[in-house]
Symmetry: C2
């Protein structure tokens, strides 16, 4: 807790104050993986568990970012880079606000993910590689996107016509073709709970 004696008028509520109030450290839990690999499902269930344990959480995903903050970025390479950059900057603000923020975006490029990692401190970025073979994601094709991509209706589709650069040193790797959703969720929750050291 900073002293407020010296320059009271310049005092700002800081991250340490928020950590004290929340009883846990903040971090970014960054899910990366192919479309259909299970990022959003796992992220939302991880949030549910953490929230249930009294942790201050928030999820950034396509639902709340694509049509809002990022409604003016396109799907060109530059646009996708800017998409991830903005998400990273917003995630950083949430970390500054003391929150465990989970993000669920394909984020196929290593350099973009590393840029986000560099925005926050050591131990504040948890990369979760949701590793599911393309064949399985494509077979599931929950949103019908792979079919469209194969038909050439979606340009630069990750895994089909644009590369996915797999993380080499992700804090957590989950093989969602072999683990159940519950097992995947528990793996992430256990890691995060240990990292953020909640008081209760």
């Amino acid at each position: 807790m900073r002293s407020t004696n010296i320059k009271p008028q310049e005092y700002k509520v800081g991250k340490e104050d928020r950590i004290g109030a929340n009883g846990h450290l903040p971090c970014i839990v960054w899910f990366t993986g192919l479309s259909g690999s299970g990022k959003s499902t796992i992220a939302n269930q991880v949030e549910q568990k953490l929230f249930g344990a009294g942790i201050k959480t928030y999820v950034l995903d396509g639902d709340n970012v694509r049509h809002g903050l990022n409604n003016n970025v396109d799907f060109t390479e530059a646009g996708r880079q800017e998409n991830i950059r903005r998400i990273g900057e917003v995630a950083k603000l949430f970390v500054d606000a003391g929150i465990v923020v989970l993000t669920a975006f394909i984020s196929p490029f290593k350099r973009d993910r590393e840029s986000v990692r560099s925005l926050v401190g050591e131990g504040e970025f948890v990369e979760v590689f949701v590793n599911c073979p393309l064949e399985i994601c494509e077979a599931r094709d929950v949103k019908g996107l792979y079919k469209k991509a194969r038909a050439g209706q979606i340009p630069d589709f990750t895994g089909i016509s644009s590369p996915f650069e797999a993380p080499e040193n992700a804090e957590i790797e989950i093989a969602t073709d072999r683990l159940s959703v519950d097992q995947s969720v528990e793996t992430v929750v256990a890691y995060v709970m240990n990292l953020i050291k909640p008081a209760k």
Copy 2:
């Protein structure tokens, strides 16, 4: 609290859940006014009081937004509009996360402020017009910006070479040339505390 019986796998932690956990409603407290009018000073002290009362808070201001999320917008009219748009969208995310988010930006254009207001629900946007005469802001000139603007070194400077569109229906108006900082802060805190109805 939503029922989780029907589709447990699609359950997401929602705003109502966060309100329940935090014990208060979220909102945007949007400070608008000339450079040097006292927006940041008041916003930070309001946050301090609210935080001290157990409210979940965060401040968005030039310090944490300009060099991060908005480091690629310029000071042209379009750039300034995009600047405020992004801040509004981020503030909306914080509201969704259950937080009382305070913003301190000149935001001179009525249409930009109204756009932000329209992003959130009734009673979730509190416009605070920090009303201080140009002469006084210019006489203070804390950052030396008015001097530079008068010398023509800063184009489109609000109050000098670009208009400030005063709010007509701000929830709160503070005449910082007549009220002390403490009085100004108390006015905003009292309004916000009543609006968000904290449990404790």
